[in-house]
Structure formats: C-alpha cells, structure tokens
C-alpha cells in the first residue's frame, strides 16, 4: 500500500516560501486505479511527483506529513534505496512523450538501461526482456523498434515505449501524469486500454493524474479531487459521478463539452485557481462558488466536514445544496 498522510509541500515564489500543497492524504492499493483530478495549478502534479521525491532539486520542500510505502517512510530512505524504489517499486509515465525520451539514444538503449539498473541481467537477457516489454505494449515489430530513435516514432508509439519503460522492472505502482493529454483522441483510447490491461494483468496500483473527468469515468476505481492545494472531495468513482458533493467537482464535471446539449452554452467556472500564497482564509473555492455563504469565508474548512461512508467533501453546505443540485447524475 502507498499512503500519503497529510502531506504539505512548499515552493519558492519570488524569494518567498509559500505552501503549494496543503495536508493532502490519499491511499493507493495494489490492483486499484486512483484518479487525482483538478485544474492546472491545483497541486496535483506536485503531489504525484513528491511520491518519487521529484522536484526536490527545483526547490519543492516537504513542510509536513509523510509518504509511506508498505508502512515505511519514503523520506527516511538513503539515495541508493531511493534509486531502487524509483522504477523498481514505483515508476512514472509522463505527459509529454515528445520530451520524456532522450533524442540521442536509441529506444533499445533507453529501455535496457532501466532493465539493467534494476534487474540482474546481462546485455542479451536485457535485450530479450526489452523485446518482450515492447510486445506487451502492443508493438509487434519490437526488434525493429529497439534500433530506432525517438524522432522516428509517432506520439502514440512513444507513449507506448514510455509505458514499456515504466514496466521494465516490474513495479508495484505506476504514476501516470496526464498520460494521454498530448495525444490524438483516437490514440488516447488505445493507450487507455493498454494501461488498463497491464494494470489488471499485473495487479498494479495506478495513480492517474488528470483534469479530464472522461478519463476518470473510463479508468478509475477511486477519485480524489484537488483544488488550490487541498483535497476537496474523495470517494469511490460511482459515488463521485452519481452524487458529486463539492460544488467544485460539480462545476468541473459540468464544463465537459460532451455532457452539454449541442447549441447551448457550456457551463463555466468563472475566475481562476488562486495561486499559492494567495489562498483565501476560508474555503479555497468560495470566491468562485455560486453557492458560497458568509460562513464559507470565515475560517478554514476541515477536510471531511461532510461524510457519507468513504465519500468525503470539504464543503460546509453539502446537505443544503442537495435540493438545489439534485441527487441524480449531473448529466
């Protein structure tokens, strides 16, 4: 089990240290897909990257909380163990397949590098494994692909290569940060199917970072919605879609062009996400929320001030919104 407990992260903006992620908690179990959802600037990527302790060189610092892998803290480990955890236990698939591969090394050398770093294999064995990995991600002419360089592959093929690399050392958890956003719609579907098949076959825990509720509907078992550095809602995927409790979740779902009727105006969320350092004292979403009351602005809102089983929301007025918002699906 991979657990994040009340994690807070601070970044440096114009010489000032400000909190960018505030007391975020979530659990990722083997065999499950967890969606971490929010707009740009909500802190979802920072949170995901903190699991592998990426970003520390760019000035991201942990200001509180902990991340536990099978019960032991990832912040206590030495560099050598951290290297083995990265890729060996937890690996990452990045958003931009165009920039995540090194253009001057062949696909083969980039995959076998990962394999030999983590597994005790000679060159030949590593090569054979690389071919098998590429076949697993649906590339039939794997021997040929090994000799090629990233520039001769399409975006979808590069993303397959990155997924193969993430799988190279048989990790238990994969973090995928917007893995399909840079791809064509028709290719997106293939990559989703591929990720889900691999996840099921190997009983992986998959953390999917995305702003797209369509992807969440398609892939996730559990959902955590973040807004301005905080978790605002969390629960099982069916609960979140049947009964989105937080106004932000509802608003974000309502923006999707595919749920509105052709010809009508799309629902929008006015304004934008407040930057770290400019968060309001009360509910972070209050100033964009059409349902905000006076008490929303007064004092910080606790994480689970509304709860129904495993479904929690950081909103003071969920029960009052029920009538207004309706219990059925937002579509």
């Amino acid at each position: 089990m991979l657990e994040i407990h009340h994690l807070s992260l601070s970044v440096s903006i114009e010489g000032r240290r400000v909190e960018a992620v505030s007391s975020v908690s979530l659990q990722l179990e083997a065999g499950r897909v967890l969606g971490l959802v929010g707009e740009s600037g909500c802190g979802k990527s920072l949170t995901a990257q903190a699991i592998l302790r990426l970003g520390e060189h760019q000035g991201v610092e942990k200001s509180g909380g902990d991340i536990l892998l099978d019960g032991s803290s990832l912040f206590g480990v030495d560099d050598e163990l951290l290297r083995r955890i990265r890729g060996g236990r937890i690996s990452m698939v990045f958003q931009e397949p165009m920039t995540a591969l090194n253009p001057v090394f062949s696909i083969g050398s980039q995959i076998t590098e990962v394999i030999r770093l983590h597994l005790d294999m000679d060159k030949q064995q590593a090569n054979a494994r690389a071919i098998q990995l590429l076949r697993d991600v649906g590339m039939q002419d794997a021997e040929q692909i090994l000799k090629q360089y990233p520039d001769s592959l399409s975006g979808g093929m590069r993303q397959r290569v990155l997924i193969a690399m993430a799988m190279a050392a048989d990790p238990d958890y994969i973090i995928a940060d917007e893995p399909t956003t840079a791809l064509d719609v028709s290719v997106q579907k293939r990559i989703i199917t591929l990720l889900l098949n691999l996840q099921k076959k190997r009983n992986l825990g998959l953390l999917l970072v995305t702003h797209d509720f369509g992807l969440v509907a398609e892939m996730c078992d559990d959902v955590v919605v973040m807004y301005a550095g905080q978790v605002v809602e969390a629960g099982k995927v069916a609960d979140i879609f049947d009964y989105p409790a937080h106004p932000y979740t509802r608003a974000l779902m309502g923006c999707r062009p595919e749920i509105s009727t052709a010809g009508e105006s799309l629902t929008v969320i006015s304004g934008q996400v407040p930057s770290p350092g400019y968060w309001p004292q009360g509910c972070h979403f209050a100033e964009r929320c059409s349902l905000a009351r006076h008490d929303c602005m007064e004092k910080p809102v606790t994480a689970a001030c509304w709860q129904q089983g495993e479904h929690i929301a950081r909103c003071l007025h969920v029960d009052e919104h029920v009538d207004e918002l309706g219990r059925d699906s937002p579509a």
Partner: protein, 322 residues
Amino acid sequence: MSVLVVKNVSKTFTAGGMFRAIGKNKRAVDHVSFCLDAGETLAIVGESGSGKSTTARLAMRLLQADSGCIEWNGIDITALGGKTLRQRRNHIQMVFQDPFASLNPRMKIWETVAEGLRVHRSDMSKKQRRNLVAETLHLCGLDAAGMDRYPHQFSGGQRQRIGIARALIVEPAVLVLDEPVSALDVSVQAQILNLLKELQEAKGLAYLFISHDLSVVSHIANRIAVMFDGRIVEQGSAAEVFEHPHHPYTRALLDARPILHPSQRQIRKSGDNHGDKTGEGIAATGCAYQLRCPYASTDCATFDGQLNSLGFACLHPLPETK
C-alpha cells in the same frame, strides 16, 4: 455567396535540405474541396498528419497550393501574391493552438493586438488604435486595463482571448481556429468555446474549426468534414455525421469520445468494437484507411477514394441505423 471556397486543392511537401537523399514526398492534401458561408462553422476533424492544418493554411494562402483554386468572397485569390494579397488578408484571420507560443513575449498586449492595423488601417492614429484595441479586448472578455502588460502576466485562457482579439481587430469575415482549446484546461475550454459562439452570433463570422476532438466539435460545428491521409473521407451536417456516420473512420473517432459515467464502461466493451484487432498504418494504394478498418476487404486495395454523392468515400459503409 460563400465567404470561402476551396476547390480541388492539393499540396505535396518535398523533403529538402540536408535530408534530401533519404526523404520522400508527402502528399499532405489531396483534392480537397469545401465551401463556407457567413455565420456558419465548418469543422475539419482528423488525427495528427491527416492534413487538416495544411488545408487551413492553404485556404488562408499561408501556403501556396500545387493545384486547385481558392476564392475569398467570390474572388479567386489563388494566384495573388505580395502586397495585393496582404491587403486582402483582413478577410481571413487565424487563431493558433498554443497561446503560450503564439504571442510575442517582448511585445505589450496592445501592440500585439494592434499589429494587423498597421497594414489594414494605416490611417489610424496611435490613440485611435489604442481605443480600438481596448474595445476589441473588451469584446473578448478582457479588461482593457491590462493592455500595457506582457503575455507572461496572463493565464492560458486569457492569452487565447488575446489571440482572438488580435484576429478580430481587422474585422475578418472568416476565422480559422486551429485547435483553439486543446491546450487549455476543461474549465477554460468551456469559456473560450462560449466566447467563440457569442462572437459568431454578434458578428456573423464564419469559422473554419480544426480539431481532433469530436466532443468539442459537436458543440460548435454546423457541418463537419472528416479528413484522413490528406483526403476528406466523409462530410455532412453535424447532426448527420454524429447520428449516422457512414465511414468506419468517422465511427472510430466517435467511439473514441470520452464516456460520461463509469456505468458506460460495460456498454462500450460489449459494443461493436474492433479497435484492437486492427493496425496503425496508412495504406499506400487504394483506401488509405484499409489497414485499420474492421470492414476492409480485397476491393478496398483498388478503391479510388472519391467522395460519393452521399458525402462519404467508402465501399463498405456502416449501415444507416446503429
């Protein structure tokens, strides 16, 4: 009268320079025809490399077509060049995909937006230009007080509004929108799509909307042309194409739209889905889609790829009803 007519236009790119020896010619656009009337939106959809952006650039005369002809407001501009073409450019303007790359970081917002006026309204004084910029920014939902700032001080959605203002200031009849929302967050996407709709209604603009995302297209398009490997493989009204797709590729694009609710996962799996059996390539002869097509048979290898009278290019179209 159509504000934009594209007749039988083709364009082949030849590999040149350092890579001439290994390069091949790429037929990017192959006998494409369409027209666009005032106040309507034609969406060109297709995947990367299908030639949709090249088609838009040909229609704008940013690229010169190898053959075929292009008319703006009934006037053939295919052969125009230089100053004559530049002076007519206010007829058709473009909004680019990436609002982070398409604004000059060293120019103030008002200077960027006013640039088109240097050619098309050179009679205006600086004060008049600034007033017009303020008015246009306001129209695009931006506070004119920010016009002396630089692009990095704006968010992605605001920058896209600036890009739209820059295009609108010369009062075009046609806007070419090349993936105008695909670099934006979902919530901001909706704002920009709504703005485009309002502007179209207010000004009677014609939109040529380039996108790979059918759920966005369904919101804004009156008519749709689906491109694959440089050709239009299906075209028709948005309602027809969405309700009764004929070409298997159109169907594949429709199937790739995101689902609305997790409960739809099962429905999709048991549905008519041949996705994984098929390949990824493009055929060199015959129907270009045959390698990926679940309905392909031997006659597809010799198919000429012409659109039929019903508006699709396929020998084995999908049945009328789903």
